[in-house]
C-alpha cells in the first residue's frame, strides 16, 4: 500500500525553502503558452506550475545535455544536486531506457552521477496538451513509480506519495505539517485521476487500436504509410531532440585541445546520421529514416531494453514543422 500524506499549501513554502538549502530546484514555470523547466529562486516560489501538463523540455536535457565535454572536463565539485519538481509520468517512464543505455558495463559517469544525485519529485498531470497520448501507449497521466515523492494537487494542498527512502527523508523535520491522508482526500485524488485519464482517452479516440504497437509496426516494413507520413518531413530532427527516450549521440574530437571529446545529440532523421567515411548509408531515403524511427521506438528498443521508446508525451507532434502526427501514422499502419 502506497504511503501517502497530505500537506496543506500554507506549509509548502517552508518545505521548499528547506529543500533549497540542499538542492537546486528545477521546476516547470510558465513561458508564453508552454511550461519550461527552470531553476527556482526564493523570489518566485509561487510561479512553479505543479499540475497542468508536462514541460516543453524532456528530462534528458538535464541528464544528457545537448552538447558537453565527456573527456577533458574537470569534475565540478560543490555544486548543489538537482531536485526536479513537477516532473510528469511521461518523463519519469522514459528514464529506465536512459538508465539502461547509459548504465551497465560501459556506464557513463556523468549521467550516473546526475541520476544518482538528482531527486525526483513528480506530480500528476491534470490538463493534458492536445498532443498528449500516454494512455495510447500503455501509460497513465500520473506517476506510479520511479519517483522519490509524487505530488497530487488536491484542494488547497498536495497528496504526497512516498516513492523511496530518500524521498521520505525529504519530509524529515516537517512532522507537524504532514498529516495522514484522509478518505475524502483519497477519493478526491482518485476522481481527479480518473477525469484526466478520461480526457486523454477522449482526445485520442480516433487514434485508438487494439493490437500491440510492436506488432503493428513490425508487420509493415513494406508499407506506403511510411512514404505518406514522411512526405512533409523537413528532417529538422525536432522529433528526435524533443523525445524523452531518444538518446542517439555523436562524439566529436574536433577541438583545438588534445584528447578532448564532445558528445552531442544526434538525430536519426538527418540524412548524414549513418553515413560512413566511404559515403555509404543503410537509409539513403527519407521514408527509410522515418520508418527506422518507428521501428526503433516500438521494436528495437523493446528488444534492447524491454520497453517502448515512446511514453506518449506528444513532444514529437508538438515540435514537428511538417505537422506529422505519430498517432495518425500508427493508426494508419494498424488499419493497413
Amino acid at each position: 500500500m502506497a504511503e501517502r500524506y497530505y500537506i496543506g499549501k500554507a506549509h509548502w513554502g517552508s518545505i521548499l525553502r528547506g529543500w533549497m538549502e540542499k538542492y537546486t530546484i528545477l521546476a516547470p514555470q510558465r513561458a508564453h503558452k508552454s511550461l519550461h523547466i527552470q531553476p527556482v529562486t526564493q523570489d518566485h516560489l509561487t510561479s512553479i506550475v505543479y499540475d497542468e501538463a508536462r514541460a516543453a523540455q524532456p528530462l534528458k536535457s538535464f541528464l544528457l545535455p545537448p552538447l558537453e565535454e565527456v573527456v577533458g572536463k574537470e569534475p565540478s565539485e560543490n555544486e548543489k544536486p538537482w531536485l526536479f519538481l513537477g516532473i510528469k509520468a511521461c518523463d519519469l517512464s522514459a528514464l529506465p531506457i536512459l538508465d539502461q543505455a547509459f548504465g551497465g558495463d560501459f556506464a557513463d559517469p556523468l549521467y550516473q552521477k546526475r541520476r544518482e544525485e538528482s531527486m525526483l519529485v513528480s506530480s500528476d498531470c491534470t490538463q493534458p496538451w492536445e498532443t498528449c497520448f500516454c494512455t495510447l501507449v500503455g501509460g497513465q497521466p500520473f506517476p506510479t513509480k520511479g519517483f522519490d515523492l509524487n505530488l497530487s494537487k488536491v484542494w488547497d494542498g498536495f497528496v504526497v506519495e512516498v516513492g523511496s527512502l530518500r524521498g521520505k527523508a525529504l519530509l524529515d523535520g516537517h512532522d507537524e505539517v504532514i498529516k495522514e491522508m484522509v478518505k475524502e482526500e483519497a477519493e478526491a485524488l482518485e476522481k481527479m485521476r480518473k477525469e484526466t485519464v478520461k480526457r486523454v482517452d477522449q482526445q485520442n479516440r480516433e487514434f485508438k487500436f487494439t493490437k500491440p504497437h510492436r506488432e503493428v509496426v513490425s508487420a509493415h516494413w513494406e508499407s506506403e504509410v511510411w512514404k505518406e507520413h514522411a512526405e512533409t518531413c523537413v528532417e529538422c530532427g525536432a522529433c528526435n531532440h524533443a523525445c524523452p527516450t531518444c538518446h542517439c549521440y555523436f562524439l566529436d574530437d574536433v577541438t583545438r585541445k588534445e584528447f578532448v571529446k564532445l558528445r552531442g545529440w544526434d538525430a536519426c532523421m538527418y540524412s548524414g546520421y549513418a553515413v560512413t567515411a566511404g559515403g555509404g548509408t543503410p537509409r539513403p531515403r527519407l521514408f527509410e529514416r522515418f520508418r527506422n524511427r518507428y521501428f526503433c521506438k516500438f521494436n528495437y528498443l523493446d528488444k534492447n531494453y524491454g520497453m517502448y521508446g515512446c511514453t506518449g508525451c506528444g513532444r514529437c507532434i508538438e515540435g514537428c514543422q511538417g505537422r506529422i502526427d505519430m498517432r495518425a501514422a500508427l493508426k494508419d499502419l494498424a488499419k493497413a
Binding site: A101, F102, F295, C296
Partner: protein, 272 residues
Amino acid sequence: MSRLKNPYESQKAVIEKIVPETPGIKTFVVRPKGKFSFHCGQFAELMVAGVGEGPFAMSSPCFKPEVLEFTVQNVGYMTARLHQMKEGDVVGIRGPYGNGFPLKDFHGKEVLLLIGGVGFPPARTLLYSLLQEKHQYKRIILCYGARTPQDIVYKYQIEDFRKKIELHLTVDKADANWKEREGVVTVLLDKIKVDLRNSVSVVIGPPIMMKYGTLKLLQVGYQPKDIYLSMERKMYCGIGQCRHCMIDHYFICKDGPVFTYEQLKDLPDIWE
C-alpha cells in the same frame, strides 16, 4: 559513489612504424602506453586528437598485445589525417570492443576465410590465432580477392601464409604479370571441395562483396549458422550507446561485429 571509469577516454599510443601497403592503405604499428589486450575479431576506436575517431579491427596477433597493428584505408576526413602522421606521433586508442570470433566453435572443423580487399586486417588476426593452434583445425583455407594486384595488402606475407595454409588469390582486374585467378572473389570457391558437414566460413570485406560472398557460400551448401560475418557500419561510441551502428536491434559494436548469417538472415537491408 564509486568512481566509474570514463568509457569515452582514449589512452595514448605511439606510432612505432608505418608500413605502406597499397597506394591508399597503410599499416600503423602502435604501442599503447597503458594496458591493452584483445580477442581476435575485436576492434578499437583509433583517434587522431583534435580530428576524430574511427573503429578499426586490430590486424596483429592477439597474443602479442603490447604492439598493435591497424591497417587503414584513406577514405575520409579522419583517415586522411592519420595517413599524414609520422612515426613517433601519438594517437589515441580505446577498446577493445565487440565480441570477436568464437574460435572454440571452429575447433575440429574446416575453416574457410572468404576475404575481400581491406577486409584482410581482421582476417589476418584470425589467421594468426588459427595458426597458433593449427592442430585444432582440420583445414585452413584463405580465399582473398582484391581489385587489382596493386590493391593486395600484406603482399610480403602472402608466400609465407601459402606455406602454412591453403591460399587462393584473385583480382578483379589482372595485369600482365598476374599469374593467379582473375574475377571476383567468389570464383575461388568453384574449385574448392570442403566437407560441408564439418565446415565453417568467415566472410569479411566491403558490403557488396559480403552480400555476394554469403549468397555464394549458401549456394555451395554452407548452413546459415556456419557462416560468420564481420559487419561494419557508421559507429561513434563502440560501447552500445549511441545507436549509429544498429542492424535491427543488434549493436554491431557490442553484439558484433561478428554475427552468424543465421542471426541476420531474416532482417531487412543488412547489406546496405
